[in-house]
Symmetry: C2
Subunit: 338 residues, 2 copies
């Protein structure tokens, strides 16, 4: 029987997830929740404005929560789901590893999950994969890791217009800084990825920083939607750093701008052996986030209760929904319903 | 308190694991088992010729079994460990995913593990990582996977002499085929990696093949140890393939020869999104195998009882042995002892 999924939040990412749930075998979209009930038409499902009602009426196995990057805004939503006995997977960036940055909220959600006997996971491409779970997976072949550098470099001209606007493409430098001050540019999640890596590797960090600059065009650059004059911003450069004393253990570089010569995701591990791995062309952000959420669903349902992270979850690999024979006895079968 | 490790088998890989266990925080090498008690000197530990005696005298938390690639030869050893209440991690290639190729042995070990309340894992760089666990991890960002190609290409001139000899470097073509017939060339594990991928993705394979050819030198090639004349073998090309009907779902290419222009590990996923990932310079085989075994130890001790595979284990990432603060409540702490 298919896993019953309720999609909470039908913005661009939520709608993408809803459509993927609708299209894939092994999962069934049973409803949606959004302030705008018109969103249901796009994804072909009844959308309710009230979460508690939707939970009661649709009886989901799991709720996918995609309403905000900020854990403070999402915590109440997660608790309502848990109170209804429903597991949660969320694209909330601050939930990917909240133990370092927001320990109070992490403990609160962890307690609620234990009380409900359900698991809660925050995931996505970044945080949740490119800068944390994938470097962790790669480190398995190392006898020693001294430091990790991850570079996520994106040619933003191929992304949707709201993303290009979010990263400040086309703004003057003054406008860029004003937009940063208003909280409208920063990619959320570098500190969470750093926290996950440090916790897994056993590094007690003394400082975590997250700095942001405009990328300034030296010549005219353009996307199909937008044009940037020289001296204006073509996008953003963001640098996360985690240190033990003066020693940089984790360095995360996020660049998204129009005219980046190449998109890629690169991981460098300093250690024994030293490793350098690159996803050529990069991992497409929105599709990857929707996919990892759906792929994680059976893992979250099979996980022990509590607030879990990608650090502790078996690989949330793709699955077709087709059962294989012979099924390995004693192993986790995918997909499964609770 | 450190995890107590007994190393069973002190050949080249076993000795490497023993030395790494001896050198790392959080684990302690409490003994070794080998037919040759002289092996103990190399790794600085008492070596016994009798497994049952060693288990009784050293009271390990886990045994690392590195005695053979063949599961049939290792199954009895694993059962003796389990009967003593000791978990097992093994470099036995056929144990990495025995459910498809050797279901009887898999069920037998799974039953013994359940009876003992302990977990058993087969791992290594290949099988166990480069051609199965890492492609699985990468697929997490896909909404659809149509097929997987993995290429592990190695310049064998940088590997130890026994490895160069194993892959047939320096042999005539006739000698190569005789060595293949005698079972001395083939890399064990392609079928196991194919089985793990197919089981995880939900592909019911109709055929799994594993073919082997000599790589023939067109000009003189050499390593510091060995010289290959034109027309002789510089190494091996091995191709594993898993099909549903006529559709190739998995294609694994393993090449190791003197004079390979570049070493690398490459994963290509055909699907949505299509992905191409490359470890530049490749993953060094022996060190990687020893490391992943040691890194997996806390995961095996924390796993539910039974025969498990890398498909179902949380990332066996590197860990320093240093506890981090604050410890995430409700999450698995690393390292831990049973």
């Amino acid at each position: 029987m298919a896993i019953r999924v309720l999609q909470v939040g039908l913005g661009p990412i939520g709608a993408l997830i809803a459509r993927q749930v609708g299209a894939r075998a092994g999962v069934e979209l049973v409803g949606g929740v959004d302030l705008d009930p018109g969103k249901g038409k796009e994804v072909g499902v009844t959308v309710s404005g009230d979460l508690a009602t939707a939970l009661r009426e649709t009886r989901p196995d799991i709720a996918v929560v995609s309403t905000s990057s900020a854990l403070e805004r999402v915590a109440g939503t997660i608790e309502v789901c848990l109170a209804a006995g429903v597991a949660v997977v969320s694209t909330t960036e601050e939930l990917a590893f909240p133990w370092r940055e927001r320990p109070e909220l992490a403990r609160r959600i962890n307690r609620a999950a234990h009380a409900a006997g359900r698991a809660v996971l925050g995931t996505g491409v970044n945080p949740g994969f490119a800068m944390d779970a994938l470097p962790l997976a790669l480190s398995a072949v190392c006898e020693r890791v001294d430091g990790v550098i991850v570079r996520r470099i994106q040619d933003a001209s191929k992304r949707r217009l709201p993303f290009q606007q979010k990263i400040g493409a086309g703004l003057s430098v003054e406008e860029f800084h004003a937009k940063v001050a208003a909280g409208g540019v920063r990619h959320v999640g570098l500190a969470e990825s750093i926290g996950m890596l440090a916790s897994a590797f056993g590094w007690n960090l003394d400082s975590v920083t997250d700095e942001i600059w405009p990328k300034i065009a030296t010549e005219r650059v353009a996307s199909p939607d937008l044009e940037v004059a020289p001296g204006h911003c073509s996008g953003v450069v963001q640098l996360g750093s985690g240190k033990e004393g003066d020693l940089v253990r984790v360095r995360l570089e996020f660049e998204a701008h129009l005219g980046a010569p190449e998109s890629y995701d690169e991981i460098e591990i300093a250690g024994s052996p030293a490793l350098k791995s690159r996803v050529v062309g990069g991992i497409p952000g929105d599709l990857a986030t929707a996919s990892i959420v759906v792929n994680a669903i059976p893992r979250v349902l099979a996980a022990p209760p509590g607030l879990i992270t990608m650090r502790d979850l078996p690989p949330a690999h793709w699955w077709s929904g087709v059962p294989t024979a012979p099924p390995p006895a004693g192993a986790v079968a995918l997909p499964r319903s609770t």
